[in-house]
């Protein structure tokens, strides 16, 4: 479902070019508007769609599985710290509005200051966990799950 650009909306500002992780949003040298140079390399991350200040970028579904005429559009409001989605089905029966926070603190005020953190102890260095890995992403309170901790052992061969 690659992105495409509404030419009447784009003003060629380049936000999408900057943000595209696949580097496939470019400015057309003739029309001075953004366009997707390689639609089949687009993995629909929606970064450019959300970054476009003109809402000039949309995503189209492939005709073989997405119902043509549907619409999934997004509005990212940085100052309010929220993202809004609107999903419309082709027959118009579904018109779903969603809203979710995208930050809890003003932008740029909560950058981790890793240089101020205490050095890792020997125990942490010997652990299989990453330094400063938050406790809540561990699978238990102490260490990660292993075959050993689960009372299992590696066997040779293929088992079904």
């Amino acid at each position: 479902m690659p992105t495409f650009v509404y030419m009447t909306r784009c003003d060629g500002c380049g936000h999408c070019v900057d943000i595209c992780p696949s580097d496939i949003m470019h400015i057309d040298p003739t029309l001075r508007r953004a366009y997707n140079i390689e639609p089949n390399m687009c993995w629909e991350c929606y970064s450019c769609v959300k970054a476009c200040p003109m809402n000039a970028i949309d995503v189209r579904g492939y005709a073989d599985f997405a119902p043509l005429g549907h619409s999934v559009r997004v509005q990212r409001d940085e100052e309010k710290g929220v993202i809004a989605w609107r999903i419309k089905s082709r027959n118009g029966e579904t018109d779903l509005n969603l809203l979710a926070p995208i930050t809890t603190k003003p932008w740029g005020t909560a950058i981790p200051q890793l240089k101020n953190e205490a050095e890792p102890t020997q125990e942490v260095r010997d652990s299989q966990l990453l330094f400063n890995e938050p406790k809540y992403i561990r699978m238990d309170d102490g260490d990660i799950h292993t075959l050993e901790s689960a009372g299992l052992r590696m066997k040779s061969g293929v088992y079904y």
Binding site: G14, P29, T30, N55, E79, G81
Partner: protein, 274 residues
């Protein structure tokens, strides 16, 4: 010098009637080029089909009074002050070129149709020169400083492509007009006429017609916001509204009852990496 009417001096060489016929021919070329452009690109068809789609998806009726106020704000913001541009340098360059072009065209028409055979009030030649100068300031600024900047397009000034047909023809027209007025040389007059003919005769291939399409697109964009169709875009509601907070409980939970202004995130930095 800037209060001298160059067309009065020219009337010794070319009869005023010939000048007037040339201006009318240019108007016809612009009108014809725009119509052919519309037929070729089918942009009018797209525009009206889109407007029809928006009308079907509208959630409220826009009254005639509202339409007038939308038209007024389109003219005030999008047309008169080039409000569409995010980049302020481009916006200023566009304003200089736009107002310069309007002054130049209007004063040319007045001088040729009103004062090609008789002396004119000093204001009209002054406006003619001022218009040409403004186009030159805005246009050369765009060509040599803004366009070459990687934050804009990163094209060296000597790289010319089809998209540049309009700006280059416009710059050539006003530059040769000024040179002709200053040096009174037939050579510059011939170049001025050649450049003007290219400018008005290549509407089909250049972006000349944007001055007619852009206001229509800006009006349509404002209309879709007013009638609630909003091009299928979601609305970002007022987060302090209790009804909104009840519908989306994540908002008060993570942002509080009275969410603060989070400032700008990625938009703090102007795009400059291409």
């Amino acid at each position: 010098m800037f209060t001298t009417n160059p067309f009065l001096e020219l009337s010794g060489l070319i009869p005023p009637l010939a000048m007037q016929i040339y201006v009318i021919a240019m108007v016809i070329l612009v009108a014809g080029g725009t119509i052919l452009d519309m037929i070729h690109k089918k942009n009018a068809e797209y525009f009206f089909r889109n407007a029809e789609k928006a009308k079907k998806a509208a959630t409220r009726n826009v009254s005639a009074g509202e339409k007038v106020s939308i038209a007024v704000s389109t003219v005030a913001v999008d047309v008169l002050t080039s409000g569409e541009f995010c980049n302020q340098r481009r916006r200023l360059a566009h304003l200089l070129t736009m107002y310069g072009f309007i002054l130049f065209i209007v004063s040319t028409a007045v001088l040729i149709f009103g004062y090609a055979a008789s002396p004119s009030p000093a204001i009209w030649p002054l406006l003619w020169h001022l218009g040409a100068l403004l186009v030159c300031v805005g246009g050369y600024w765009f060509w040599f400083a803004i366009r070459v900047d990687v934050a804009a397009e990163g094209n060296p000034w000597y790289r010319v492509m089809r998209a540049d047909l309009f700006i280059l023809a416009l710059l050539a027209t006003t530059s040769f007009a000024l040179l002709w007025s200053v040096f009174s040389a037939t050579f510059f007059f011939v170049l001025f006429i050649a450049a003007a003919t290219v400018l008005f005769g290549t509407v089909l291939w250049s972006k000349f017609a944007h001055m007619f399409f852009k206001p229509a697109a800006a009006f349509n964009k404002r209309m879709t916001k007013a009638d609630g169709s909003n091009e299928n875009l979601p609305e970002v509601p007022d987060l302090t509204d209790p009804a909104v907070q009840e519908r989306y409980p994540d908002i008060p939970e993570y942002l509080g009852k009275n969410p603060p202004n989070m400032g700008l995130g990625i938009k703090r930095e102007a795009p400059s990496h291409y």
